[in-house]
């Protein structure tokens, strides 16, 4: 049997200390390890293996597979971020050290020491490792969500385009049918053709408008905030400040009195409550309150009326106005004068209603 015909080989599991990996075919794994842990089938290797630690191989080259495994394991522990460091230099030093450890593990250099260092670091910084891991997870989720939203948008755009196309087709068909109908009903062929041309022209204009719309849509997408763009390219740009949208100033409420206020009280100040029975009865009457009537509109009005004009001295103030008053009287007495001259019939007051 050729090797190709065999079931997919499964690499040996990673071993602590970055031990060897070997590929074993699926049926062999079943055969050897189905009854529990057993010794490694490779001659000279005495390690005890378990079935559940075997898994499918991703890479053809077993060495690559092993290196990826190790790198994953190291990266999960040494997951510090650039923000954690004071300067770029520090961060680079850290990366260098991590790479040293990884390299040692992969190439089995100073295996004992390196493994010890690794374990020590893991034990010491367990909490921070967890924290950074959750942060990374969150970022990944956000990224995925962004991508999803972008896909959705693209789908909507495609749908809209499709709808437009279908509409166009339907219109063309309808136009043709219309022209045929007209011809069939015996209309003038020339005018029908002209009409048809007009319709076609209109269609063309519509198409131009649609193309324009499409272009605008694409422009919109291009100028969309950078957060959305991150979804499609694999480059996540950090440190971009989110743009805050400037909302328009809310419109000022309408002032029905054009800047006049009625708060310039001289003679009284409104109280919260009045003991007068009239007010109290109105306040407790459900029939009145149900419509939204507030008794304070009565009290404020009553008090305003009680003092509106207390300081107005009609006699004095009218003398100053006497002349204007006389002009006004002329208008009013005119009617009477006209009557006096016996011309009343000529004064027509039209029915305004």
């Amino acid at each position: 049997m050729s090797r190709l015909a065999q079931p997919k080989p499964i690499p040996l599991p990673k071993r602590s200390g970055g031990g060897d990996a070997q590929d074993v075919c699926e049926s062999c794994v079943d055969r050897i390890f189905s009854h529990g842990p057993s010794q490694c089938p490779i001659p000279g290797c005495r390690k005890t293996l378990r079935k559940h630690r075997f898994r499918e191989q991703t890479f053809e080259d077993i060495q690559v597979e092993r290196e990826v495994d190790i790198r994953k394991r190291v990266a999960a522990v040494f997951n510090r971020r650039e923000d954690d460091f004071e300067s770029l230099r520090d961060y680079n030093d850290y990366l260098n050290e991590v790479e040293d450890i990884t390299f040692n593990l992969i190439n089995n250099i100073d295996l004992e020491d390196t493994q010890k260092k690794f374990d020590k670091y893991q034990a010491a910084h367990e909490e921070e490792i967890m924290e950074n891991a959750s942060l990374a997870e969150k970022e990944r989720m956000q990224f995925a969500a962004g991508q999803k939203a972008e896909r959705e948008q693209a789908k909507q755009r495609r749908d809209a385009a499709r709808r437009e196309e279908a509409e166009e087709k339907r219109e063309v068909l309808e136009g043709k049918k219309d022209v045929l109908n007209r011809l069939a009903s015996g209309q003038d062929a020339e005018s029908v053709a002209q009409e048809g041309q007009k319709v076609q022209l209109k269609k063309r204009m519509d198409r131009a408008a649609a193309a324009e719309r499409q272009r605008q849509l694409q422009q919109q997408t291009a100028s969309a905030p950078s957060g959305a763009r991150n979804g499609s390219s694999n480059l996540v740009i950090k440190g971009l400040k989110a743009k805050t949208k400037k909302t328009a100033e809310p419109e000022a409420p309408i002032d029905p009195f054009g800047g006049l206020s009625f708060e310039g009280r001289k003679y009284y100040s409104l109280q919260d409550d009045y003991v007068w029975v009239g007010v109290q009865e109105t306040k407790t009457d459900a029939l009145i309150g149900a419509g939204g009537y507030d008794v304070s509109s009565f009290t404020s009005r009553a008090l305003c009326e009680a003092f509106a004009g207390l300081g107005v001295f009609v006699g004095e103030e009218m003398e100053g106005r006497e002349r204007r008053e006389e002009d006004g009287n002329k208008v009013v007495t005119k009617g009477a004068e006209l009557v006096a001259q016996g011309r009343e019939k000529k004064v027509k007051i039209e029915d305004p209603f």
Partner: protein, 375 residues
């Protein structure tokens, strides 16, 4: 940039202040002028054959006053709100400022005025319902309506003291409870001397001992109802509405009802050192004097009224004798003859523009007329 209006400024915006407030001199001058004009006109329609005795200005005034009383009794009979009564009376008074009873006898005007007041004061009823109630014809009510509106200068708002009086009552009661100026004012209020003999209030000082909160309460209520009565009869049958503001009228009524209480109330409103203080006091007491000077027997009795109206019948203006017919004729005029004229003119214009429109380059350009629609 808000401009705060005081209560006085608010009152100055009203048409009652702008058009229907007078100094005593200008009021009597205006009435004299109206009367003289009516007499002058009367010279023309009577001719010189026989001497006719005309109503004097005094008689005219008393006749109008009698019909103000008539409006009051009618309104009371139907139990309409007091606002209707006050408004109608003011309409009638205002109407006869610029019109003479010789031209329009009040007997024909007062029904219209009352109907108009029902409308403006939101006491709605149909014209036929109203006519049925006061047992008259609908046309009689409608005929002088335009004349009345014109004489009222199309201002229908009448500021009245009734709601304001309730406001004062409200505030007085709160004062008595110590809710306005605190305990100090309350104590002062309890010490206000009792009303002297001869005032209108029904309240009597309990005699021995100090006045308690309970009695103070009664005193305020009694003063209110006395003032309310004063606002009903004398205030409506004298010229106070034309000479004073509603606020002054109601305080004058309170002043007549319980003078010490009102003085105390006013003193809580303004510092006695303020410049307007003596003026306000003087105005209120002048108004109170006017209210007090009124006595019911001044109003014409039915016989006197009949005598006066008989006299009026002989000297009245014949051209306004049949208002109903004039009204009907005017309506006819408005819809018939004139409508036809307008139609004819429009037709001519239409034809002209059509003719011009057929020219090759359209009608000729025209300068806008100098005296267009302005005349």
């Amino acid at each position: 940039m808000t401009h705060a209006l005081s209560e006085d400024d608010i009152y100055r915006t009203s048409t009652q202040y702008r058009l229907w407030s007078f100094s005593p001199e200008s009021l009597s001058a205006l009435r004299k002028k109206t009367h003289d004009l009516a007499l002058e006109r009367a010279q023309r329609y009577t001719g010189n054959d026989e001497p006719v005795e005309f109503l004097t200005q005094e008689e005219e005034l008393r006749l109008v006053q009698r019909y103000c009383g008539q409006i009051r009794t009618t309104s009371d009979h139907f139990k309409w709100p007091v606002n209707v009564k006050a408004t109608a009376v003011q309409y009638l008074t205002r109407f006869y400022l610029t019109n003479s009873t010789l031209t329009y006898p009040p007997k024909e005007i007062y029904k219209t005025v009352l109907f108009l007041a029902c409308k403006t004061e939101a006491t709605h009823m149909t014209l036929s319902e109203y006519a049925r109630r006061i047992s008259t014809e609908a046309e009689v009510v409608l005929a002088p309506e335009y004349k009345v509106m014109q004489a009222l200068r199309f201002t229908l708002d009448v500021r009245q003291p009734f709601r304001g009086l309730k406001g004062a009552l409200m505030e007085l009661l709160n004062l008595a409870e110590g809710m306005v100026g605190g305990e100090e004012l309350q104590a002062q209020m309890l010490d206000v001397p009792p009303p002297p003999q001869g005032t209108k209030t029904q309240w009597k000082h309990p005699g021995a001992g100090k006045v308690g909160a309970e009695q103070l309460h009664d005193r305020i209520q009694a003063a209110y109802s006395a003032a309310r009565n004063l606002l009903d009869a004398p205030a409506l049958l004298t010229d106070v509405y034309l000479l004073y503001t509603p606020s002054q009228i109601l305080l004058a009524a309170l002043h007549l009802a319980d003078e010490p209480l009102t003085s105390f109330y006013l003193s809580t409103k303004l510092p006695t050192s303020s410049l307007t203080w003596p003026k306000i006091l003087a105005t209120v007491s002048a108004c109170a004097d006017m209210l007090a000077s009124f006595s019911p027997p001044q109003v014409l009795t039915k016989d006197e009224r009949n005598a006066l109206e008989g006299k009026l019948e002989r000297c009245r203006d014949p051209s306004t004798r049949d208002l109903v017919q004039a009204f009907a004729a005017m309506r006819q005029d408005g819809s018939g003859e004139e409508g036809e004229g307008v139609r004819k003119r429009r037709k001519l214009e239409r034809e002209k523009s059509q003719k011009e429109g057929e020219d090759l380059f359209g009608p000729s350009l025209q300068r806008p007329k100098a005296n267009g629609a302005g005349g």
